[in-house]
């Protein structure tokens, strides 16, 4: 049997809230210590304790960060799902099970089984109080034995997880060793999977998208943060608060140059963000589906009164409560035309932590320069899963606060008016209360019809003109929005994707012979290149993670003349997208073409 080195997925099934998460992370971290670009996906339930969780770690020669559809090694350690877990595994799968459970032998047929008496072994753990948690470490040891992970790597992983707590590390390590010893004493290796140290990670870092976005906000100069807890967005604001407390310099009296408010709900959170943006601070709020729905009315106000702020929508599976702990890209249509009346919200579409950081940082410039709420469209997979990626890059650009009607500007302009299109780009000059002191500066911002000078108006002409200017302003944003990324292929087919779908696409394309041209869209409204891409390809497949093909629909709306070229392929089961889905989608398209 030839060994299969550094190329497998391990799937660990446990009930949540039992401490198994630590063990899973230790395995992942140990592989990383070996220099392997191991990826881990956490499939957790909307629940605090007791429901099924799966953790899937993948090691691959390409260092792919996508989840594989299948796995080679299974730890079915949740009695509630063991049957299903085994049934879903391919023949030949390596299974490490709890032999104390007396699962029917027949269930293991066709698998390579390593039965471990976890309950019995756990009794060997001295510390009775910690025993229930430490018990989970036993399987870490078994996995280490199986995959030939050095004990040193396990220990280093524990040190990362419990920094500075040598005693805890020791305790955990010895629990792991129970499993390791049991396995080496009792099993002979019957399967081919193993690891070897490698240099897949180099300078790379491991971070999730929410934390990266939070850091981007700090670098972007956010100073008023208002949020309401919701999975999968909570960790964005929580990380922001954690980091900003440490790294935002205090004033001379040691006071904060920021404020984080946990609002009573999302209506208030976005209201505070808009109020702060109106007053001249860089502000943000973060949320997910239900929250973004609740923000509809206030976002419409922000759009029409032209108030800068940044909204983070970490998308989860909708509609309604949906699957709050699963991933999707299904708020696209809603956000693009959020709120009643004619609106068109700019959206940023990051695909990886690096972009989460840079786009989040840039969002504040965009919001202020174009005086509009900007929506950062992330998703649970990007936001809550860890990704191996390049280090975050110091932004090269200085703050662009856009057109501020300072006293000097007002004095210079012939006649200043809050909504006058002085420069022909649709962007007016805004004032900052208390900072702009010129007597002409004062006005009342209002969501009702208003003229160039912010005065109330019900005139049809004034109204239409204002709406047209705003539309022009938003369309004009493309010069500053992140450009689409073009990757030439061989075929004459085109492929469009955005956000985290990119990872699966990249992996699928890597091992295809004839690849389509690939365009990754990174913002809305679309750049000219998007239209050109449609023009240059008879067939353009759009792959995305929602039911309706919302990006495909947005493209059809924006390019009706070319809409007939679009083929929409969608996945909406809530799991991170696999390369296989993309492969099959492309396959099906080329079959259609061949006919």
């Amino acid at each position: 049997m030839n060994p299969v080195v550094n190329d497998f997925s391990v799937r660990i099934a446990t009930p949540n809230g039992t401490g198994s998460q630590t063990s899973n992370i230790v395995i992942h971290r140990a592989l990383l210590r070996m220099g392997l670009a191991a990826n881990a996906k956490n499939l957790f339930p909307s629940n605090i304790a007791g429901l099924p969780t799966w953790y899937q770690i993948r090691v691959s020669p390409g260092g792919w960060q996508t989840m594989a559809e299948s796995w080679q090694i299974l730890l079915p350690l949740n009695q509630a799902t063991i049957g299903k877990d085994l049934r879903e595994s391919a023949p030949g799968t390596v299974v490490i099970d709890n032999s104390d459970w007396k699962t029917a032998e027949s269930a293991f047929e066709g698998f390579v089984r390593y039965p471990v008496p976890f309950d019995k072994l756990a009794r060997g753990i001295d510390n009775a109080k910690l025993r229930p948690r430490l018990k989970n470490l036993i399987y870490v040891g078994v996995v280490a034995w199986l995959l030939d992970i050095p004990i040193k790597a396990v220990r280093e992983a524990l040190e990362t997880v419990f920094p500075g707590k040598t005693e805890v590390v020791d305790l955990n390590e010895s629990a792991a060793m129970i499993g390791h010893e049991y396995a080496s004493d009792n099993f002979t290796k019957q399967d081919p999977y193993t690891t070897e140290s490698a240099d897949q990670v180099g300078n790379k870092i491991l971070v999730d998208g929410n934390e990266a976005a939070a850091l981007g906000a700090i670098w972007g100069g956010v100073s008023v943060v208002a949020w309401y807890p919701i999975t999968p967005a909570s960790s964005l604001a929580e990380n922001l608060e954690k980091h900003i407390e440490k790294i935002r310099e205090k004033d001379s009296e040691g006071a904060n140059r920021f404020v984080v408010v946990q609002a009573e709900d999302e209506l208030a959170a976005v209201g505070m963000a808009l109020g702060a943006g109106w007053a001249g601070a860089r502000s943000m709020t973060s949320t997910s589906g239900p929250g973004i729905s609740l923000m509809a009315e206030n976002l419409g106000l922000g759009y029409f009164t032209e108030i800068p702020t940044v909204i983070y929508d970490v998308q989860r599976v909708g509609p309604s409560t949906g699957l709050p702990t699963r991933t999707q890209q299904s708020d696209m249509l809603q956000v693009a035309f959020h709120s009643h009346g004619d609106t068109r919200f700019p959206m940023l579409l990051p695909a990886n932590p690096g972009e989460a950081f840079s786009m989040s940082c840039q969002a504040y410039d965009l919001a202020e320069k174009y005086q509009t709420p900007v929506v950062f469209m992330s998703d649970l997979d990007l936001g809550m899963n860890n990704w191996i990626c390049d280090p975050l890059e110091e932004p090269s650009a200085d703050f662009d606060r856009g057109k501020i009607a300072s006293d000097e500007v007002i004095a210079r302009l012939e006649k200043w008016g809050r909504y006058r299109d002085v420069d022909g780009d649709g962007i007016p000059y805004r004032t900052i209360p208390g900072v702009t002191l010129h007597p002409d500066a004062a006005h009342l911002t209002r969501g009702s019809g208003h003229d160039e000078d912010a005065n109330y108006s019900e005139s049809p002409e004034v109204y239409s003109r204002n709406l047209d200017r705003i539309a022009r302003k938003i369309s004009g944003m493309v010069v500053d929005l992140p450009e689409p990324i073009f990757k030439p292929g061989h075929g004459d087919m085109g492929l469009i994707a955005f956000g985290t779908t990119d990872w699966a696409v990249e992996e699928a394309l890597a091992d295809m012979e004839t690849t389509p041209d690939y365009l990754r869209v990174r913002s809305f409204p679309f750049h000219q290149q998007v239209g050109e891409f449609l023009e240059n390809h008879e067939t353009v497949m759009v792959i995305e993670q929602n039911q309706q093909g919302q990006m495909a629909q947005l493209l059809a709306m924006e390019y009706p003349q070319l809409a007939g070229r679009i083929v929409s392929k969608t996945y909406y089961g809530g799991l991170p997208l696999s390369a296989n889905f993309v492969r099959e989608a492309l396959q099906s398209a080329s079959e259609v073409e061949a006919r």
Binding site: L32, R33, V201, K204, I205, L206, V207, L215, W219, G221, S223, V224, I247, R248, E249, K250, D251, A255, N256, R257, F258, V259, V261, A263, E264, D265, L267, A268, A269, V270, G271, M272, A273, L274, G275, A276, G277, W278, A279, A281, S283, N298, L301, T305, I388, P391, L392, E394, D398, I432, P433, G434, V435, A442, H443, L444, T445, R446, G447, S448
Partner: protein, 345 residues
């Protein structure tokens, strides 16, 4: 006393006209216009620089009024019931500004109840005025949540629910400054407004403000007549700015003084009965007793100058956030390096 005949210009050299704004579009006689006048008067007397004020409101006739006072101030007419959140955000962005929030009873007690409650809990420095007429004026006279059960509409229908007493609610929620007044009683309203401006925290004022078009008829408990007949107060208030000479002679026990955060004082001349607004239990019992008697208590109901404001509990820099520059906000070169290192594998 400060209410005596105003000079032609105030300490800033501004005339009263400088505190006015666009012509009102309220119905003639609307209580809301009187409140706008009181705000103008108070700011003129205090010598407030309009450019240091921000006017925040929701949606309704009342919420339109920021267009009709303090034309030198900027303002934001937000969405229905959401003034508190917009005002909180704007306040935090710039602690130098003095927010005046204007709302209606529909705006605050119906759709805005959640934000009303939570703004009180947060205690930002701000004057929060509810122009309370018991109806939705702008949508033509439906009952609001402050309409009393016994108070019929013009068409003779009665509300199905008990009204909400916003002052009672504010007390229960621990608001540090709770007052009620009447748009027809400038003599009381102006000094209370001045005290509210000088207060470092949320100064909530429920102002009975009759809607002449939809709720000023006989039987209405929010009419001018009803308030004149059933309004009660236990104090005559007057306001003394820090710089003003105090040359009032008074007998012990007749006057109560409330010293506000900026050193100004609200002096309360006792009428009839004892009520010390600094004592929460006194405030509660006064309010309950008068309510039970069908009276509407006005005046400063409760004040607590010790409660920490939102800015304080947030440890927020006194230098307004809007004045912080890139150099203050973006971490120094090298910090990102350290963070990347911590993420290293």
């Amino acid at each position: 006393m400060s209410e005596e005949k105003a000079p032609a210009v105030n300490q800033l050299g501004l005339s009263k006209a400088d505190y006015k704004a666009g012509a009102s579009t309220m119905c003639k006689g609307c209580g809301h216009d009187r409140i706008s006048e009181a705000i103008i008067q108070a700011c003129y007397d205090l010598g407030v620089d309009g450019r240091s004020v921000i006017k925040m409101s929701g949606i309704g006739c009342s919420s339109k009024t920021p267009a009709y006072f303090l034309g030198q101030s900027m303002g934001l007419n937000s969405t229905h019931g959401r003034m508190p959140s917009f005002a909180t955000g704007a306040h935090l962005a710039n602690l130098d500004m003095n927010p005046i929030g204007v709302s209606g009873d529909g705006d605050s007690a119906s759709i805005g109840m959640g934000q009303f409650v939570h703004m009180i809990r947060r205690n930002p420095k701000m004057v929060y005025i509810v122009e309370n007429n018991g109806v939705y004026g702008l949508t033509k006279g439906q009952f609001s949540a402050t309409a009393d059960r016994r108070s019929p509409s013009k068409r003779g229908k009665f509300p199905r629910e008990d009204s909400i007493d916003l002052c009672g609610l504010a007390l229960e929620l621990g608001a540090p400054f709770v007052a009620r007044s009447f748009s027809g009683d400038k003599k009381q309203l102006v000094p209370i407004l001045k005290a509210a401006f000088s207060f470092d925290g949320l100064a909530f004022i429920d102002v009975i403000s009759p809607c002449v078009t939809f709720n000023n008829h006989e039987g209405s408990t929010k009419s001018y007549t009803h308030q004149k007949e059933h309004g009660v107060t236990y104090h005559d208030p007057f306001f003394i700015a820090p710089k003003e000479q105090i040359d009032i002679e008074y007998e012990d026990g007749e006057l109560q003084e409330v010293t506000l955060h900026d050193g100004s004082k609200l002096v309360l001349r006792k009428l009839e009965k004892d009520h010390n607004p600094a004592e929460i239990s006194s405030a509660r019992s006064m309010l309950m007793e008068t309510r039970d008697r069908g009276e509407i208590l006005t005046g400063l109901i409760h004040v607590d100058t010790e409660q920490p404001s939102l800015a304080e509990v947030s440890g927020l820099s006194r230098e307004p956030l809007v004045r912080q520059e890139q150099g203050d906000l973006r971490p120094a070169a090298g910090v990102l390096q350290g963070i990347n290192d911590s993420f290293r594998i």
